[in-house]
Amino acid sequence: MLKIHNLHATVADKPILKGLSLTINAGEIHAIMGPNGAGKSTLGYTLAGRPGYEVTEGAAQLNGVDLLALAPHERAAAGLFLGFQYPVEIPGVSFLQFLREAANAQRLGRGEPTLSGGAFLKLAREKAALLQMDMEMLKRPVNVGFSGGEKKRAEMVQMGILDPALAILDETDSGLDIDALRICGEGINAIMRRPDKAVLLITHYQRLLDVVRPDFVHVLSGGRIVRSGGPELALELEEQGYEAVAA
């Protein structure tokens, strides 16, 4: 599903990713862990096409499509979803209005029929319920006045509505209390654990991985993947720290 080969990327001319390669197959959940500054968030932003994240070498394909040749909204239509570590507040723009436009823009981009207002609302209600989020909150401006936990649940509601093939979730667990962590984790399982989908979790902690069990765990350090293994690698990291495991 996702094939990243020898990816190099710079931010403000500073090299951050230095030859990262990673393959994720459909039906798999991968976790990337690593120390602060290793390039974890940069990987997510680079794949999603954030302006200022320059690819200087390498390739990234999603289901055979060259991601790096696409504009950010086209990458979304191609099936990529980025869950933000810090979801952005946008005053005055309603969640539901923007999500409906976004969902339909994606469908148009793929040559699929658009959702009617009723069908969209039904879908939004279903996903909000899955994340135990009040529909009234989705009538409010995007993320404005949301707590840290509400923002992360709203990210998962968006993921549910947009129904991506691949979700890259950047520290979805940060800022969550125990209950919200479980709700988000179970939401990820319900929405994404399917044979035709895949997930890349970016996290610092084992606790999310207790709910969303990864098939593979990678250690990112210095802009490259320095070790890969099964779920036991996350436990090893938790016990021994990055320095010992990545060395």
């Binding site: 980025l82 933000f84 946008i90 923007f98 976004a102 994606q106």
Partner: protein, 244 residues
Amino acid sequence: MNALALPTRHDEAYRYSDLDALAGVWPVAREVLRVPAGEAAARAIVISGEAAVARHLLVDLAPGATCDLSLLNLAERFGRIAVEVRLDAGARFTLGAAQIGGGEATLEIVTEVTHAAPDAVSRQTLRSVLAGAATGSYLGKVVVARGANGTDAAQSVRAMLLSRGATANAKPELEIEADDVKCAHGCAVGELDAGALFYLASRGLPPASAKRLMLQAFLAEAFAGAAEEEALSGKALERLEALL
């Protein structure tokens, strides 16, 4: 000053004007809106199209009168709306104004709001969206006369520049000769937040749609609660879509 003489750059209120275009519509007739004591009035002025347009409105509010004024300046070459307001005791004036321009348009809204007696309230909200090489100016003077205690005046002025070639001028001005007054003004010129645009794009919204959504929200602040809110927002949106 001779009211019929064409203004020059030296006239503060015409500092950023397009004097050639203004000459074609000079002199500008004064329109008068008098609101009797205790009564309420609402008015909207919309200017649009390729012809140069200048309007000049005098609003006179008797004690306890209220006026809600909406202005939408969409002129494609030159559009100027000047408003002079005089508030008597306890009167209330609310202005919601937006100007949207592209190309070489010169858009201006000039207000002078005089609190002539105690306890009057004025609220002015102005939003500009400027693309291409357009210039949008707001000159907003608030005068609080001697003895007009208990005055409560606020101005919120924001402009959004969509291109490097666009210009926004904002000049809020306060002239206060009374004690015990509350005058607030905020003024900001900026660009659309790049982080928010990327967030919307990452969900699949094409750039023009993302910008339109954010600008709609920005402009909505000008017409929130106005009698013709829906019609004004619709016209503003139509112009925005033509510019994006």
